[in-house]
């Protein structure tokens, strides 16, 4: 039978605050175990949570960037369950009055709705001794550094229909959160985590099929692969006349399959109720407006502008917009009057190749917008040829310098003087009588040889346009064959 895939994604984004959501412990990644803990995030008797305003501000900012409605009043609830990494025996989360509701993202022109986004505290982390996982380990230790780190859980509607779309949604979501600087989106450090709900239904059926929740997907590629594998697993069950069981499944990168988690742990009744230690929070519209005013231009708007106002291809626009650093740099270059297409080409092609080769971030290069604009102006004016332009760009990525000075110092300026070039062409033709004869006889491909010789003599500085023009003038008329 033909099935339609229905995917909903739950993302836990760690909010970039200096301190935890309910205490003053730092949130930095990588500290020694239990170095960033206090009586509050350890859940000692008699302590109380106090809400971090910055976490709420980040949540509102994210909500606005995701086109959500921001709740006028929101509150915190206790989600009750026992686990050693959960110090209070409950997690402070938001149940029925999340800070953000009903948003959406545009993915390749399609609207993916966001159901809600709510604030919650992270749990600690178990470290198992004597084995890679819990099973077979001698004992387990708990690191509470992560306990109480603020998270925004962003829940999509089941609007996603393919693994690729899921990947694109996540890419865009992470990109937005990075644009607005509320989450560093680092998957390896766990600051951007994703669970995928996957179900199938026969094409044309309205009701949703039974879903499985896939956990432990640590990269966007893994999300795609895990969903694909889950689609195949569920199709086979349905084709064989079976029924999909509602459960959580763990993605295993090694065998490329999802595996059922113990279903006993699924029988949770979280017994949510309002946390009496925290008062309900009123979010005033003035505060929302204040936060809204700090929102930068978002990726989707940038892409639209690049295509519509600057004539870039959608692909190029997408590459630039994917990194806020790159896009901001591009915009700065444009402000200095640079040609948009040239700027885009130089940033996407040689610059990206350079950062990839050297395994560095774009921000770590020495290139300035002024230098790039000057470089492009030199190309535009014919002062710099494309070969030397590339060479110079690599220099500017690696070391600081003034474009025009470097052109002069290194003698990179293009030779466009017609008299000088005419003399060079005449010399080449005089020395290459045999080739000229071949050309005359109709082997016009040999024209490239003359061009190459001129470049050699000029040390690559000959203006190709002018050189070609002179070649046209001085070469004999080829016989038609």
């Amino acid at each position: 039978m033909k099935y339609e895939t229905v995917i909903g994604l739950e993302v836990h984004a760690q909010l970039k605050t200096k301190t935890k959501i309910f205490c003053r412990c730092p949130t930095e990644f990588g500290a020694a175990p239990n170095d960033q803990v206090c009586q509050i995030c350890l859940g000692m008797p008699g302590v109380l949570p106090v809400l971090n305003k910055k976490a709420v501000e980040h949540a509102i900012k994210a909500g606005l960037a995701l086109n959500c409605e921001i709740s006028e009043t929101t509150k915190f609830d206790r989600k009750n369950y026992f686990y050693p990494d959960l110090p209070k025996g409950y997690q402070i989360s938001q149940y029925d009055a999340p800070v953000c509701m009903s948003g959406h993202l545009m993915i390749d022109g399609k609207k993916i709705r966001i159901h809600r986004a709510h604030l919650e505290e992270d749990a600690g982390k178990l470290v198992h001794a004597g084995a890679a996982g819990l099973h077979g380990s001698d004992y387990s230790l708990v690191d509470f550094n992560r306990s109480g780190v603020p998270l925004l859980e962003i829940v999509s509607e089941p609007d996603i229909t393919s693994p690729e779309e899921a990947k694109n949604y996540l890419t865009e979501l992470r990109n937005i959160l990075r644009y607005i600087d509320v989450c560093d989106g680092n998957l390896e450090e766990g600051s951007f985590r994703c669970d995928a709900n996957v179900s199938l239904r026969p094409v044309g059926q309205k009701e949703l099929g039974t879903k499985a929740e896939i956990k432990n997907v640590n990269s966007f590629r893994a999300v795609q692969k895990a969903i694909q594998s889950e689609i195949e697993r569920q199709s086979k069950i349905l084709d064989d006349g079976g029924r999909v069981v509602q459960e959580s499944r763990l993605w295993n990168e090694a065998d490329g399959k999802t595996h059922s988690m113990r279903s006993k742990e699924e029988a949770h009744d979280y017994r949510y109720f309002p946390d009496p230690d925290l008062v309900p929070l009123s979010i005033e519209s003035a505060w929302i407006a204040e936060i809204r005013a700090t929102l930068p231009e978002l990726p989707e708007e940038k892409r639209q502008r690049y295509v519509n106002s600057h004539g870039l291809s959608l692909d190029d626009a997408a590459v630039l917009a994917e990194s806020k650093d790159l896009a901001d740099f591009f915009d700065e270059t444009l402000k200095l009057g640079a040609n948009a297409k040239l700027a885009a080409n130089l940033l996407i092609g040689p610059t990206t190749a350079y950062t990839n080769d050297n395994k560095i971030e774009f921000t770590e290069t020495k290139l300035t917008a002024k230098n790039l604009a000057d470089l492009i102006a030199a190309i535009d004016s014919g002062k710099l040829g494309s070969t030397n332009a590339k060479k110079l760009l690599l220099d500017l990525l690696a070391t600081e310098g003034d474009v025009n000075k470097v052109i002069e110092e290194k003698g990179l300026a293009q030779l466009s003087n017609e008299d000088e070039l005419r003399k060079m062409v005449e010399d080449v033709l005089a020395k290459s009588q045999a080739q000229v004869e071949q050309y005359r006889s109709g082997k016009t491909k040999i024209r490239q040889f003359f061009f190459g010789e001129v470049m050699k003599i000029s040390k690559g500085k000959a203006n190709p346009e002018v050189t070609n023009k002179i070649l046209d003038e001085l070469l004999p008329q080829p016989e038609s064959t």
Binding site: Q39, L42, G43, M44, P45, G46, V47, L48, P49, V50, L51, R78, N80, F82, P84, P87, K88, G89, Y90, V142, D269, R271, Y272, F273, P276, D277, L278, V279
Partner: protein, 507 residues
């Protein structure tokens, strides 16, 4: 040796400031009295002698160098053992926290110590403040100093008995459904639960967070006022503590509960002219002991003599406050007590081979029967399928109760009732019947549900010479006015100077 046992704050401060005695001597005499007599009463879970002497010495040193005696300079206090003080165990009367020493201090303890209070010890309590008789402590059963065969009331029985026995001048408990007022009533002293949010809960081990409030015990209303004035105020560590309680939220213009007010209390002329008092008639019905009724009626007479207008009043829904309380309090408790899982601190069953059995055996062995009962009740009330019928409904009724009180306070300044329908009952008399036990708090519980200030003042003695308390209740943030009315009543009803045999014997 100067007589310091059973004295009020001002009496002790007078003795110290007139150099008749040092703070250290005051502390030592109280500790000796406790060491000699508390074997019978079990008011303390532990004495904090070293801390007391250190604090007393600091008071003496400061005073000797020309400083003024601070608000509670040299005054011996007892803190209920669910209020955290570093370096000593905070057990909450539970095996599960038997050896737990908090590395932090409760905000209220901070404020008391900064005001020169001298901590004699940590007071016994019903485990996790759950109980009405102080028989639920995992360590020992506290006894009433008026009659050692009687309960002192709970759950703050320890600090109540400490004050009533003269081990400390004042004491501090927590009141979730009557846990200060009931033992105050049973022990013949004054005990007050302030408006919810007036005193920081930081460092108070939570039972039911939306109801818990720390408050004082004293030999007089004035002592409660002085003690309370020291601990009230916004605490940035407690989001539910009220910011500027007598400023921007004080739309009714109640007097501020501060040190100036507390000091001015003695100057009050005692007249209650213009004060309207409502007698909660629902609490005068079935189950009320005749001598309690008689003492209450005598109290009403006293109020009238003082010039107050007194009427009977019906506040709606009081009849269902008890079940509402036992849903909300237990629901909150079920979550609050989840942290005692043996993972990070406190008791743990070390023999368990897996996580689930460690949880189960640790908690089975660590908690007593009443705590388990309430965890189960609360867990049930929050469960899927029952939440709407229990927890949610209870919250709705709680709002109705609050509104019913608001309505009554449109007409009355103060509402009164017996603090408890009975005098102190016998040890073991109600332990097998939790429901009967729960009825001890029938008059005090609604006050917590509505977040109101309530105070119990001695108003007479019943059979076997057991004390009887009158409960006075005011609107939110009217704590200072309530104390003024209670002070006038106390002076006229005339039991303020009565001390228990234990506090008297020591003299």
């Amino acid at each position: 040796m100067t007589d310091v046992i059973g004295k009020t704050i001002s009496e002790i401060k007078q003795l110290i400031s007139s150099k008749q005695i040092s703070a250290r001597e005051v502390a030592t005499l109280h500790i000796e009295h406790a060491k000699r007599n508390d074997k019978e009463t079990n008011a303390f879970i532990c004495l904090t002698e070293e801390l007391a002497l250190k604090q007393a010495d600091a008071v003496d040193k400061n005073f000797a160098s020309g400083g003024e005696l601070p608000a509670l300079g040299g005054v011996p206090i007892c803190l209920k053992d669910n209020i955290c003080v570093p370096d000593y165990p905070t057990t909450c009367g539970s095996k599960i926290l038997e050896n737990f020493k908090p590395p932090y201090q409760a905000t209220s303890a901070n404020r008391l110590f900064e005001a020169g209070a001298v901590c004699i010890g940590k007071g016994n309590l019903d485990e996790f403040a759950m109980g009405s008789s102080n028989e639920n402590s995992a360590f020992s059963i506290t006894r009433n100093p008026w009659n050692l065969k009687k309960v002192p009331g709970g759950s703050s029985g320890g600090p109540a008995v400490a004050v009533a026995s003269g081990y400390s001048s004042i004491g501090f408990g927590s009141d979730t459904g009557g846990s200060i007022r009931l033992p105050a009533s049973f022990c013949g002293i004054v005990g007050m639960k302030p408006t919810y949010g007036l005193v920081s809960r930081f460092g108070l081990v939570a039972y039911a967070s939306s109801l818990d409030q720390i408050g004082p015990f004293g030999n007089s209303v004035e002592d409660c006022a002085l003690a309370l004035a020291v601990i009230v105020g916004k605490d940035p560590k407690d989001s539910t503590s009220i910011d500027d309680p007598f400023g921007k939220f004080n739309t009714k213009k109640y007097p501020a509960l501060d040190m100036n007010f507390a000091k001015s209390l003695t100057g009050h002329d005692g007249s209650l002219k213009g004060i309207k008092i409502g007698v909660l008639n629902d609490l005068l019905g079935e189950g009320l002991e005749s001598e309690v009724r008689a003492a209450t009626e005598n109290g009403i007479k006293v109020f009238k003599e003082l010039g107050a207008e007194v009427d009977e009043v019906k506040v709606d829904h009081l009849d269902i406050a008890l079940p509402v309380y036992y849903i909300i309090a237990t629901a909150e408790a079920s979550a609050n007590l989840s942290r005692y899982d043996g993972v990070r601190y406190g008791a743990r069953d070390k023999d368990s081979q897996d996580l689930m059995s460690m949880y189960m055996s640790t908690r089975s062995a660590g908690f007593g029967a009443e705590v388990k009962r309430r965890i189960m009740l609360g867990t049930y009330a929050l469960s899927t399928g029952y939440y709407d019928a229990y927890y949610k409904k209870a919250q709705q009724v709680r709002r109705l109760i609050k509104e019913a009180f608001d309505k009554a306070f449109e007409k009355y300044d103060v509402l009164i009732s017996p603090t408890s329908p009975t005098v102190a009952f016998g040890l073991g008399e109600k332990t097998d019947d939790p429901l009967t036990m729960y009825l001890s708090d029938i008059a005090t519980i609604p006050i917590n549900l509505a977040g109101l200030p309530g105070i119990s003042v001695p108003c007479g003695f019943g059979r076997e010479g057991l004390p009887i308390g009158m409960q006075l209740v005011g609107p939110q943030l009217s704590d200072a006015r309530l104390l003024t009315v209670a002070h006038a009543f106390e002076k006229s009803v005339g039991f303020a100077s009565k001390r228990s045999p234990l506090a008297t014997v020591a003299r």
